[in-house]
């Protein structure tokens, strides 16, 4: 299996095969017993530099709008599928999700204002304050999965060596949450592609040390940002696998990214409410 994925499928082949093949390749490579690639241990400074690079590649320093498709599969339950729009503004870390589909969720939304995450449900016409680490729409995705990457700000890395993930050579590291910060996952294991500095895989752990979630990032895409005056990279597809309830998984597809400036009054309760009138 490892040989097949490692030798037969090159990176290009994986991308060409599409997202499922990519995810399978990453999964196959990561779950099989792989010898660690011999290399000199990376210093903390080098790892921090990698994290900063990971963050910087995804940061656009301006406004962001994208369509997202969220699909949640749970054992013995009907699949939950959402179409939503994500809005971000880098300067003041504003963030908003507006659900478009299904009809029962149309007009619902999350709005981040002054470090508070608010949820609006037009059927009751009321705003509820939610935790920053809220599961979005009851799925296994969090607000941070749609927001800008802040790994270097939030975590201290330690080196776990290099590892082959399918055709990729990944820098593996353990990230421990910085003291004083409230983080959903106090420990993360991260696999970063050595060549591109794109995240390939993440494993998120509970405070108890139990593995909670494994995420795969099989497909990355870039788009030019006027505000950054450079390319911004974003994962076109993310797959979350629940490691506590093994049968549960979530798929996120990020599409139609637009980094042009958004209206000034967008990140307000009034604007979100107006969308359901």
């Amino acid at each position: 299996m490892t040989t097949w994925f490692g030798q037969t499928l090159g990176r290009r082949a994986i991308l060409k095969w599409g997202t499922l093949a990519g995810a399978l390749a990453l999964w196959g490579g990561s779950t099989a017993v792989l010898p660690q690639v011999a290399h000199a241990a990376a210093t903390t400074a080098e790892l921090v530099a990698i994290l900063k690079q990971v963050d910087d590649r995804q940061r656009n320093g301006g406004d962001w709008m994208s369509n997202v498709y969220i699909e949640q599969k749970e054992k013995d339950k009907v699949d939950v599928v959402y179409d939503a729009r994500v809005f971000r503004r880098s300067q003041d870390q504003k963030f908003m999700i507006l659900f478009d589909k299904p009809k029962s969720s149309q007009g619902q939304g999350y709005l981040r204002l002054d470090q508070n995450l608010w949820f609006y449900d037009p059927s009751v016409g009321r705003w509820e304050r939610r935790t920053e680490r809220e599961r979005i729409g009851g799925t296994n995705s969090r607000r941070s999965d749609f927001d800008e990457s802040r790994l270097a700000e939030e975590y201290d890395p330690t080196d776990d060596g290099e590892e082959k993930l399918g055709a990729y050579t990944a820098q593996k590291m353990t990230l421990n949450g910085k003291k004083g910060l409230d983080l959903a996952f106090p420990m993360i294991k991260l696999w970063v592609d050595k060549d591109t500095k794109n995240v390939l895989k993440r494993q998120e752990f509970a405070l108890s040390g139990k593995l909670l979630r494994t995420s795969y990032y099989p497909k990355w895409k870039k788009a030019y940002s006027e505000s950054k005056k450079a390319d911004v990279w974003y994962p076109q597809e993310i797959r979350f696998y629940d490691e506590v309830e093994k049968a549960n998984s979530t798929l996120i597809l990020i599409r139609a990214v637009d980094m042009h400036p958004l209206a000034a009054n967008l990140f307000t309760k009034a604007w979100l409410e107006s969308k359901s009138r």
Binding site: D182, A184, L207, E245
Partner: protein, 438 residues
């Protein structure tokens, strides 16, 4: 006194003379009384089961719960420095007989095959002898709940999650700071289901709950306060006194809100405060999501009672009209030989009073015996009914005040129903009455 005995004798003889009518009406009154006693016995039984189960498993007679908010949008059902709060509560309410404290949580319990959301109670089993009295174990050993990382679940949960004693489950929750955490637990005991409360409640050692939520040793979920049974009727006053007293002791106390603590998260999260606020609730508040069943049962009983009373009134009045018509000449004769109008009315009234008294006593005895038989037979009820009865069998609580109350009520109604026909009979003119044929 002698006159009363004579009047009673006349009334008794009259009842005997009209045996069939007496039997029918007396039987109807007895049936109504039996029904009334059984209905009230049922609602009293449900209420008593609810109080005893709820006040052992999830709530005290009064509770000091509360919320601790690290940020305005994130609250946890936590009471910090609870020994000091208990001391303050005892200063305010010397009526408190004893207290227990329980951790509170809401989390996902995951087995190998399935998962469900559960309310977690953190308990020190060694300090709560009454807890084991409220539960019937299906398997396992309750003493093992003293071991760290153990869990007590109910039979319905065991079925849903496909668990047996010795199996492992994982509980996953966010700490009060929002960090994900898990704890692996071993199922040490499975209790028989006891209605709605056993649908989602599980119990783990307090220390394990603190570990899961990263709480200090002096933090708990709620302090359960217990009083003498005679103080039960004064709970609203005691709660108000406790609120005022705790405020004077320097605690921030939430306004009275008659809902269970887990129904308050949304409103608490909307409020703009951080730190600790205490919340005083009664057992009825904490099980308010279930007391509607009791209220519904009492409502149905009341409507049935009204219908029964109406039937009694119509039946008695009808019978009295027939009796008066049949005995019009007798009334005329009695009036002609000098009986006063008041005495005529009294004669008829006494007759219905006697009929009511004997009928209701008979019904009360019947109702009490039936209730005793039902309780002794441990009549099993289907699962949907168990949810509301909070017991797997029917329990009818028939107490002396209830029995005497039913006798008094039905007898009074019977007598009042007979009052108007009796007065009409007394108003008959002797000459007209004596000439009456029919």
């Amino acid at each position: 006194m002698h006159k009363l005995l004579v009047d009673l004798q006349i009334a008794w003889r009259s009842l005997i003379q009209h045996g069939r009518r007496t039997l029918l009406l007396g039987g109807a009154l007895a049936s109504v009384t039996t029904l009334l006693i059984l209905l009230n016995g049922l609602s009293t039984g449900v209420r008593e089961t609810m109080i005893s189960t709820a006040t052992t498993l999830t709530t005290g007679y009064l509770n000091i719960g509360g919320f601790f908010k690290v940020t305005a949008g994130q609250s946890g059902p936590v009471v910090t420095k609870f020994p000091e709060v208990i001391a303050a509560a005892k200063r305010v309410l010397p009526e408190i007989t004893y207290t227990v404290h329980r951790g509170r949580g809401w989390a996902k319990m995951v087995s190998e095959t399935s998962s469900m959301q559960v309310g977690i109670g953190g308990i020190d089993i060694k300090d709560e002898p009454k807890f084991r009295e409220a539960l019937q174990l299906a398997s396992g050993n309750l003493d093992d709940l003293a071991e760290p990382n153990s869990v007590l679940i109910f039979a319905n949960q065991a079925e849903k999650l496909d668990l047996k004693v010795g199996d492992a489950v994982t509980i996953s929750a966010a700490t009060s700071r929002g960090t994900n955490n898990t704890i692996d637990l071993k199922v040490v005991a499975i209790a028989r289901s006891i209605g709605l409360l056993s649908m989602w409640n599980v119990y783990i050692p307090s220390q394990s709950l603190r570990k899961l939520y990263q709480l200090n040793d002096d933090a708990t979920g709620a302090i359960h306060l217990f009083f003498k049974d005679s103080d039960l009727s004064r709970l609203p006053q005691l709660a108000a006194k406790l609120r005022t007293g705790l405020e004077k002791e320097g605690y921030r106390v939430m306004d009275a809100d008659p809902r269970a603590f887990w129904m308050k998260f949304q409103s608490v999260n909307r409020e703009d405060w951080t730190g600790q606020k205490l919340d005083v609730t009664s057992w009825e508040d904490e099980v308010s999501f279930m007391t509607w069943t009791l209220k519904a049962l009492q409502g149905v009983s009341f409507i049935l009672l009204l219908i029964l009373v109406a039937i009694v009134v119509v039946g008695i009045m009808n019978t009295m009209w027939i009796a008066i018509r049949e005995r019009t000449r007798e009334i005329g004769t009695l009036r002609a030989i000098g009986m006063q109008r008041g005495s005529v009315a009294w004669m008829f009234l006494l007759e219905s009073l006697l009929l009511g008294l004997f009928g209701t006593i008979l019904g009360a005895v019947g109702g009490t015996l039936i209730a005793a038989g039902v309780n002794a037979a441990h009549v099993a009820v289907p699962l949907p009914v168990q949810l509301f009865l909070m017991s797997d069998h029917l329990k009818l609580a028939v107490h002396p005040p209830l029995v005497f109350g039913a006798i008094f009520l039905i007898t009074l109604v019977t007598s009042l129903a007979a009052l108007y026909p009796s007065l009409r009979a007394a108003r008959l003119r002797p000459v007209t009455a004596m000439q009456h044929f029919g």
